[in-house]
């Protein structure tokens, strides 16, 4: 990545850690210097993740590196089992063991034989050129390959959410809204919200669900695996907007062969529209006469940008402005990836419009942090019940942010 002014694209290791950090009744042991885990823990706490998966480190020193010593790992695992009795221990290498070529997978196999009562799962994806999304994708895939038990389909329809992870801004609120609308529309029970609101036992029965709702592209490999293994169908979509959410629910119904509760969907649409009603004349006027003020400039995860853009443009008549995704492997002609240099130049050129991006970019560019839709930032987010961006309630929240942004500008 070279010289940067702002935070780099997180590594695969960071993506893996953020994915695993919310799984209860599990422990994670990072083989490496302890500062990594200390500050990852601080970053997670900033994002509202505290003491879910127990996050341990072994630390390593010069002697361990020079002699290839791995005693610390063995002792740490023994200590973790004694202290916490976790059902599963995840293993993560840090940068130094990766460089010196420590075979964590082989060590994990040995430890598994010593401690057969605890499932041990090694994770990789830490290389220097591996980005966050690869870590998340592989962590989700490894979880569904390693933990689920042989299981029967639940008698009543049920579902999993795949891809709700701590790296996405407002991940808890978005997951809660997603669960609310699916449960409301189908009366289905959630089996597993992978991984933001789950435990080892939930993942064990993930194969019992009737459908997997994948809310980010990194979750598709896991969903495909579950489809092959358990025959569970899946839908990959991140639902935003009033119509967008309703259409997504209809799609789920078609896939399951059951109709969503019309009264629920109509009631939700009606509530959301009523909320928006007072500002719609303003939005319509702006879209017609002051296009630049209702032009959406968005920079975030590709699925987040795509979803918000779809709501704004398709349902409110807004216009697409400068939009980019924050990962080079997800860039397309329609939604390109912007490097730091490119987004700095784009943001410096922005004058009008509705600009939503990371807290870091908004703060640097002197804009309101209320328009934050992605990390990084430097604030605390202790409250898990902030308004979502997804779903019916997310649509109201977004519209509220946009009208206030307009008012501040005028």
């Amino acid at each position: 990545m070279g010289l940067l002014r702002f935070k780099p694209i997180p590594s695969g290791r960071m993506g893996t850690l953020w994915t695993l950090s919310t799984i209860k009744n599990a422990a994670l042991v990072e083989f490496g210097c302890m500062g990594h885990m200390l500050y990852s823990g601080v970053t997670l706490k900033h994002g509202g993740v505290n003491d879910l998966c127990r996050l341990y480190s072994t630390h390593i020193d010069e002697t361990d590196i020079a002699l290839g010593g791995t005693d610390r790992l063995e002792h740490t695992v023994a200590g973790v089992i004694k202290n916490d009795s976790p059902k599963v221990i995840f293993f993560l290498p840090s940068a130094v063991p990766e460089v010196i070529g420590t075979d964590l997978r082989a060590l994990c196999d040995e430890l598994q034989q010593e401690h057969p009562e605890v499932k041990m799962i090694p994770f990789g994806q830490g290389g220097f050129n591996v980005y966050q999304h690869e870590g998340i994708k592989n962590a989700l895939l490894t979880l569904v390959k390693s933990i689920p038990a042989e299981t029967e389909r639940t008698p009543e329809p049920s579902f999993n959410i795949i891809g709700s992870c701590a790296d996405l801004f407002r991940f808890q609120a978005d997951a809660q809204e997603t669960v609310r609308v699916v449960e409301g529309a189908f009366g289905m029970k959630t089996l597993c919200v992978l991984t933001s609101d789950t435990c080892v036992e939930d993942i064990e029965r993930i194969g019992s669900a009737h459908i997997n709702l994948v809310i980010r592209r990194e979750g598709e490999a896991a969903a495909k695996y579950l489809q092959r293994k358990y025959g569970t169908p899946y839908i990959l979509h991140r639902p935003y907007g009033i119509d967008g959410t309703a259409e997504w629910l209809e799609r789920i119904g078609r896939m399951l062969g059951i109709s969503p509760a019309k009264e629920f969907i109509e009631a939700e649409k009606s509530i959301a529209r009523k909320r928006l009603e007072p500002v719609m004349p303003h939005f319509r006027h702006m879209a017609r006469a002051h296009q630049e003020d209702v032009t959406l400039h968005l920079g975030a995860h590709a699925d987040v940008v795509g979803g918000i853009l779809s709501f704004g443009c398709r349902e409110l008549g807004f216009h697409k402005g400068i939009c980019w995704c924050d990962n080079p492997d997800m860039g397309t002609d329609e939604l390109p990836y912007y490097s730091e240099e490119k987004w700095i130049s784009a943001v410096e050129g922005l004058k009008d419009g509705l600009f939503m991006s990371s807290g870091e970019i908004l703060e640097w560019s002197g804009r309101s942090l209320s328009m934050q839709i992605s990390y990084p930032d430097r604030l605390w987010h202790l409250h898990p019940f902030e308004p979502p961006f997804m779903g019916f309630r997310g649509a109201v929240n977004l519209a509220n942010l946009w009208i206030n942004c307009n008012i501040e500008r005028w």
């Binding site: 935070k7 590594s11 200390l38 970053t43 740490t76």
Partner: protein, 412 residues
């Protein structure tokens, strides 16, 4: 349970200290953290942090903005896989050129684990590129596998500032105060400093909060007075590089030692005291006599958050207390004097690093100490906590405050 730990007399550096229990949760700060905080607080100093995406990301927890208020640049250099194999020399040199063009006045390179592991030769790199640049460049290597906790991030960064200093003629009235900020609001000002100013000495404060210019001009002082363990290595380096003598106050708790240090300062600066400290000294001596009587024979343990555990343990041992276990965040070369004191008093406590306080507290209870010092989670341990309150304080006043705090807890 404690068999794996070394005795204090067997420890010769920070690297030989074993963890009390193996599973680290959450562990100690990385030295990079302190370095990031310090560079952000020195006006005019820019920095280039070199490391992995993790290091670059986490450094922004402490130094969140890429540009400082006075044009400083705090930029990041993220190493890729190619550079892990072939080195990051060219990339860093190019980054320095860009920072130079962008107006950096002086740049401190902060090397983290991977540049340290691959053996990147920062000294050679700087030697090669310095003639091209207007900005002066220095470096500090802070791989955590070599620097287990945060103190090296502080003292090595401060020490590295000597590389940015300019040789100068001596000003007989100038004294540098190392380890106290010129804009300090939280740490009470030691009475000594006012008395030095009354003696018409010109004080210059060298710590985070000072400016790059303060550091550059520092070799003109006739004396360095050290108030913090984190600044002593800088004093040692300045003595070596510029011949500036230093007197350390931070590790002196005994009134007799404090009196001698004050006399040495007056000697070095060419003036005499006129009983300015007599009342303070008498108060400290009286309290110390009471402490020697009442605390004698009490065993103690040091936990986290004590800035100078070895000198303080040496002082307590001199009062007749018995050290059982010391958590050492760092072992400083100057600690050896205090180790000898403790040994001479017939003690050789275990030393450790506490990296999982919840579990380690259980182990410490097994030692059944009469009193503990530092940070503990459980409140039922008889503990003199918040010892960092005394960081940066020196002299008789600090000794009095510490002893009073002990009496408050022990009810003596």
């Amino acid at each position: 349970m404690f068999d794996h730990l070394k005795k204090l007399s067997a420890v010769k550096s920070g690297n030989g200290i074993k963890f009390l229990s193996p599973a680290v949760f959450p562990g100690n700060h990385c030295p990079m953290r302190i370095a990031s905080v310090i560079v952000e607080d020195i006006k005019g100093l820019s920095s280039l942090l070199v490391g992995t995406p993790e290091c670059a990301t986490h450094s922004r927890l402490f130094s969140p903005l890429p540009e400082g208020r006075h044009g400083e640049l705090h930029w990041l250099y993220v190493i890729d896989s190619n550079e892990v194999v072939f080195g990051c020399r060219e990339g860093i040199m190019d980054a320095l050129r860009k920072m130079d063009r962008a107006g950096a006045e002086a740049i401190l390179i902060i090397g983290t684990c991977i540049p340290e592991l691959i053996g990147e030769d920062m000294e050679g790199l700087i030697h090669e590129i310095q003639p091209e640049l207007k900005a002066r460049v220095a470096f500090v290597m802070l791989g955590q596998f070599k620097n287990v906790s945060y103190p090296p991030g502080s003292w090595k960064t401060m020490e590295a500032m000597a590389s940015l200093m300019d040789s100068a003629g001596r000003d007989g009235m100038r004294v540098n105060i190392l380890g106290r900020s010129p804009v300090e609001e939280h740490i009470p000002r030691p009475a000594l400093l006012d008395h030095l100013e009354s003696a018409e000495l010109k004080l210059r404060y060298l710590a985070p909060g000072a400016s790059l210019d303060d550091f550059r001009q520092a070799p003109d002082a006739s004396l360095n007075i050290v108030l913090s363990p984190f600044a002593q290595p800088l004093a040692v380096r300045m003595e070596k590089d510029f011949g500036t003598p230093f007197i350390a106050l931070h590790d002196k708790y005994d009134p007799a030692e404090i009196e001698k240090a004050y006399a040495d300062i007056a000697d070095a600066a060419g003036f005499s005291w006129n009983g300015e400290f007599d009342a303070e000294k008498l108060g400290a001596e009286n309290l110390q006599a009471k402490a020697a009587e009442r605390l004698k024979g009490m065993s103690f343990v040091f936990s986290q958050r004590i800035d100078m555990p070895v000198p303080l343990a040496g002082y307590f041992t001199g009062l007749g207390m018995e050290p059982l276990l010391l958590h050492l965040e760092e072992y400083y070369p100057a600690d050896s004097v205090h180790v000898k004191k403790i040994k001479d008093a017939g003690h050789d406590p275990l030393v450790c690093r506490i990296t999982h306080i919840a579990e380690d507290e259980k182990l410490i209870r097994e030692l059944k100490p009469d009193v503990c010092f530092g940070y503990f989670q459980k409140t039922d341990i008889q503990c003199v906590s918040d010892m960092y309150d005394f960081y940066g304080q020196t002299g008789y006043g600090r000794t009095v405050n510490i002893l009073k705090r002990i009496f408050e807890v022990t009810g003596e």
